[in-house]
Symmetry: C2
C-alpha cells in the first residue's frame, strides 16, 4: 500500500479566508487572492506569525471543500499520513490534532505527524502547497494550488486545483 | 552526518519517579522498579492512561540524569531528532514541546517530531526504551534500560544503562 503525506494548512484546512478576515480586521485593508500571489504566508500577511502562535487559531479553521470525502476514499486505498510542520508553533499542536479528529474522524492518531522538516519522512506520494516541501521530496508530488505556488509551472509537480482533481489523479 | 532518533519518555524524561508517586498517592501502594519489570507502562500502572491524558503531566517531568550534557555533545556530531509517540495523547503535545525547549534549548523546533508510528521516519540510529520501536527500526539501535526491556537479552540492540554509556557508544 503506497504511503501518502497529506499537508494540513492550505490543503485540508482552508486557512486563507481566516487570514484575509484577520488582516482586514487589523489593517482595514481587504486583500484578494491576486494580491498575495507568489508570496509565502508570512510575507503576504505581516501579522501572520502572531495569529498562528495564539492558542485557538487552528481549532476552528474551515475544512477545504471536498477534502473530507476525497480523503475518506483515499484512506481505503492508501496509507494516509496527515503531516504538519507545526513544531514552529508549539501552541498549535493540540488544536491541530483535535481539529483533525473532529473533521476527519477516520484518520487515527497513528496517522498523524507534527514535525519541523518533512524530509525525514518516508513515503511514496506528497500532497502539499509549499514548493519548499515538494521540491525536496523524492517521490511523486501533487501541488495543491494556493497563492504561494500559483506562478510555478514546468515543475515536476502535478498540479491539482481542488480535491476533486486529486481524486482524479490518485483514484483514476 | 548520521541522523539519530532520540526518544523522550523514559530516555530524556525520567517518567518513572512520577508514575510511582502518582500510583502511591492513588492506591497507597509503593511500587519498586522490580515490581514492574517486563511490563509496559499501561500494564504496570492501571491509571497511567488517565495521568498522561491530563494537560500538564508532561510539562514538569524530571530530566534523565546526564541527558542534557550528553545530548548537547551528540548534537554537535549528529543530526539529532527528538521524537515522541505523542499523538495518542493530544493534550500532551504542547507540554512536551515546551519541556524540550526548557531543558534542551539547543534542540530547535526543526529537530522535533510528534507522531503515532516511528516506522515512517528515516534515520541511521535509534535510542529508545521500547522494544516495539527498536525491533522494527532497520538501522543501529541503542536500548536504554528501563523496566519494560530489562529482561530482553541476546537481541540485536546495544544496551545502555545511562547517558554516560550512550556517550561511550556514540562518541568513543
Amino acid at each position: 500500500m503506497k504511503r501518502i503525506l497529506v499537508d494540513m494548512d492550505g490543503v485540508l484546512a482552508d486557512i486563507f479566508p481566516r487570514f484575509f478576515e484577520l488582516h482586514e480586521k487589523e489593517t482595514g485593508q481587504r486583500l484578494q487572492m491576486r494580491d498575495i500571489e507568489g508570496l509565502v504566508e508570512a510575507d503576504a500577511f505581516p501579522n501572520q506569525r502572531k495569529w498562528v502562535s495564539a492558542p485557538g487559531f487552528f481549532r476552528d479553521l474551515p475544512v477545504m471543500q471536498g477534502s473530507h470525502e476525497a480523503l475518506k476514499k483515499l484512506n481505503d486505498k492508501f496509507h494516509i499520513i496527515v503531516v504538519s510542520l507545526a513544531t514552529e508553533f508549539p501552541n498549535s499542536l493540540t488544536d491541530k490534532q483535535l481539529w483533525i479528529h473532529e473533521h476527519f474522524p477516520f484518520i487515527t492518531w497513528q496517522q498523524i505527524v507534527f514535525c519541523g522538516n518533512k524530509n525525514i519522512l518516508q513515503a511514496d506520494i506528497m500532497i502539499d502547497d509549499h514548493p519548499k516541501n515538494l521540491d525536496i521530496f523524492p517521490g511523486e508530488t501533487i501541488m495543491f494550488t494556493q497563492p504561494v505556488n500559483i506562478h510555478i509551472s514546468n515543475s515536476r509537480h502535478r498540479r491539482a486545483d481542488s480535491w476533486a482533481e486529486i481524486e482524479k489523479i490518485l483514484l483514476p
